[in-house]
């Protein structure tokens, strides 16, 4: 007994379109939450959606490198990175973003505005040659910008890292929606770099906890001029 999955290229494009919409929705939720722990799970959910889209396209186009790529994405961005951030978070005394420069409600509104602006700015652009998923690229650009918004308007070190991870998810979606990803060896290298960034974040989070007693970047304003 064998289970055959038949997906046409059009199905795959629709799947990518739908998951892009999901990723954007989750991105808005991330912008609107104070709890860093919840934000980390939502970042993981984005990565899982992304890897599902990659797997779908890989199955439809019979591309083994995409299927492997989706597993790599799931294992790194979907599982390893969020678990590592959760681990660091558990050592921190404060796990909510108390006093951001832009509050959760304002961030939520800003994130929605970003989605509309991206859709209007890129919706009609004919950049995409091979992919029939018109919502993927605007969604990807919206995630890149949402990630920047979060990273720039938060005070807690790990909130900033959450912003960075949303930004990275956005970049991965840009890569996928433009060209169905990059050459495999480049994807692997980029994933390795991301994992290393998280390791170094962990190293410095521990040092900041030891030296400053918290992960608040308010303590980081000694160097001027």
């Amino acid at each position: 007994m064998s289970l055959t999955i038949t997906l046409t290229a059009l199905d795959a494009a629709r799947l990518l379109d739908a998951t892009s919409a999901g990723i954007v929705l989750v991105g808005i939720l991330i912008a609107g939450t104070r709890s860093i722990g919840r934000a980390v799970w939502l970042v993981a959910a984005q990565a899982i959606l992304l890897s599902a889209a990659i797997a779908g396209v890989g199955l439809a186009t019979h591309s083994s490198h995409l299927v492997i790529g989706s597993l790599v994405t799931l294992a790194s961005r979907g599982i390893a990175v969020p678990l590592a951030i959760r681990y660091i978070l558990r050592q921190s005394p404060v796990r909510v973003e108390r006093n951001p420069y832009l509050g959760p409600r304002a961030s939520l509104v800003a994130a929605i505005a970003i989605v509309f602006v991206s859709a209007m700015a890129i919706g009609n652009a004919t950049l995409v040659g091979s992919v029939e998923a018109p919502r993927a690229l605007p969604a990807a650009v919206a995630e890149v910008l949402t990630g920047l918004l979060i990273a720039m308007t938060r005070r807690k070190g790990l909130s900033i890292v959450v912003g960075l991870l949303v930004f990275e998810n956005g970049l991965a979606l840009v890569a996928f929606s433009l060209t169905y990803g990059m050459p495999f060896v480049v994807e692997l290298g980029a994933t390795f770099d991301l994992l290393m960034v998280v390791v170094v974040v962990g190293v410095y989070a521990r040092r900041m906890l030891t030296v400053f007693g918290s992960l608040s970047t308010d303590k980081l304003r000694n160097l001027r001029g």
Binding site: L127, I160, E168, V185, V200, V203, V211, L223, G225
Partner: protein, 492 residues
């Protein structure tokens, strides 16, 4: 045929780092030295071959070294050699004064070697995606080095560097993606679609709007790593807080590595859509960087921050020079890249020496070094004046060439602005430099003990920079000519 040599070049420091991690004392110094010598001998072979034959490839085209790549590789090896040579003295002092903990010694050399391995990878890969991976890896490894002493300021600097560097380089990934998208439209999903040599060969057929997007994001992304204003805010912190031999590597070669990446994108843009677009942006951001760095240099109180802001100024000048294009400015750019790397590395090494001796990094404390610490003091003070472009030293000649080159290329107002900014920077640096040497001596923590190695590694590079203005050896001239040919391959 070149595969094993390239493998030694990259793997020797990588494996040496693994071996060094848990070692201490002379053992770890020996491991680092051995790894460096192995990488260096492989590198010299490849560099000579690249200059003789014009092009060395290995691993089925993944590695491709042309004259420009070979030059950046040579600078990396030279500066890494100087910094590694200075490391034992610096690290022993830090260990003795409790600036570092005993097990940090092995970690320092391991990270140093890994940083070197990532820097070496940058100029030898042909694939723009792998180039991005290598540059991102330099950030990750060097961020660990910046904060190795665990002081609050160093942690702050390292954190900013890590976050801003990662976000910035993220934009460079977008640049790479747009370049890939443009090339996939022409080539299909071919494995060499991101190879720079391939992109150059099909550049005129690439989608112009994708190329423009690609260059803009490369400018913002690699511009962050180069320290171009307004993406520079992390640079003075990281370069001043890092251990001084690491500052030498950061300011001397990691900036050049990022500039190298940006130049590759610039050349694709020039070949695809003509020189107007990317050259104008380079000149504009280069001038902005020089103009913003100047007031911070004049009013600077911290010796290492002074050197860091000067790096922003010099990277700005190089961006301006690349933007000007034309044979004269490009020849100036090629030589200036090397002179700045060597000078700035030496200055950070002498500054590190003085900071340890005076127990302070304040320029108001490090004064009158002619009596208190003549070797490092004269190297720092004199070197700073050289760096400003003291005629007729090499740096004066290259700066002159870039300005005159700009005029001949028709960038008259920009060339005039460059000349004015260079003159003001010279005055600022000359004042700082003369105070360091001749000023009223401040209190010294530790008396200087004369060390022949120290004198040699500080004096020799600065003498070379001074002399190169008057006399340039023939092989160097022909090397610079072939670099200029790549930089101006399709421009002017």
């Amino acid at each position: 045929m070149n595969d094993p040599v390239v493998a030694i070049l990259v793997l020797a420091p990588a494996v040496g780092g693994l071996a060094a991690w848990r070692m201490r004392g002379q053992t770890v110094e020996l491991i680092a030295f051995a790894a460096y010598v192995a990488a260096c001998s492989a590198g010299v072979g490849l560099i000579l071959a690249a200059f003789q034959t014009g092009h060395v490839t290995a691993f089925g085209g993944i590695v491709s070294i042309d004259a420009l790549g070979a030059y950046v590789l040579a600078l990396t090896l030279i500066v890494a050699g100087l910094a590694l040579w200075a490391s034992p003295r610096y690290i022993r002092h830090e260990l003795a004064s409790d600036g570092l903990r005993p097990h940090d010694e092995g970690h320092y050399y391991a990270l140093f070697l890994w940083f070197m391995a990532t820097l070496i990878t940058v100029p030898i890969v042909d694939n723009l995606g792998l180039l991005w991976v290598a540059i991102e890896a330099t950030t990750v490894v060097s961020a660990l080095l910046v904060g190795i002493n665990r002081s609050p300021d160093a942690i702050e600097a390292a954190w900013k560097y890590l976050i801003l560097g990662t976000i910035g380089v993220g934009f460079a990934l977008l640049a790479t993606l747009f370049a890939y998208a443009s090339s996939v439209q022409v080539l299909g999903e071919s494995s060499d679609a991101l190879n720079w040599t391939r992109l150059m060969s099909i550049a005129p057929t690439l989608n112009p709007s994708l190329l423009r997007l690609s260059f803009v994001f490369a400018l913002a992304g690699y511009g962050t790593k180069i320290g171009l204003v307004p993406f520079h805010t992390w640079l003075p912190d990281a370069h001043s807080q890092a251990p001084s031999p690491v500052s030498a590597l950061l300011s001397g070669v990691s900036l050049v590595a990022a500039l190298y990446a940006l130049i590759r994108f610039h050349l694709v843009a020039v070949a695809g859509i003509g020189p107007g677009f990317s050259s104008t942006l380079l000149v504009a951001f280069g001038l902005l960087s020089m103009a913003v760095a100047l007031p911070f240099m004049i009013r600077q109180e911290d010796v290492k921050r002074l050197l860091a802001y000067s790096s922003i100024e010099h990277m700005g000048l190089l961006a301006v020079g690349v933007g000007f294009g034309g044979p004269l400015a490009l020849l100036g750019v090629a030589l200036h890249m090397g002179l700045h790397a060597v000078t700035k590395a030496t200055l950070f090494l002498s500054a590190g020496e003085l900071v340890q001796q005076y127990g302070s990094r304040r320029l108001s404390a490090i004064r009158g070094t002619i009596t208190a610490a003549p070797v490092a003091g004269v190297a720092l003070g004199g070197g700073i004046v050289l760096l400003g472009g003291l005629p007729p030293s090499g740096i004066f000649v290259t700066e002159f060439a870039i300005v005159v080159g700009g005029v001949t290329q028709g960038f008259f107002p920009a060339a005039a602005a460059t000349a004015l900014l260079l003159a003001l920077c010279f005055v600022a640096l000359a004042v700082h430099g003369s105070r360091i040497v001749w000023g009223h001596p401040g209190p010294v923590l530790a008396a200087s003990n004369f060390d022949i190695g120290l004198a040699l590694r500080l004096a020799a590079p600065l003498l070379a920079v001074a002399v190169l203005g008057l006399w340039t050896p023939g092989p160097l001239i022909s090397a610079l000519e072939s670099i200029k040919a790549i930089l101006g391959a399709t421009g002017a």
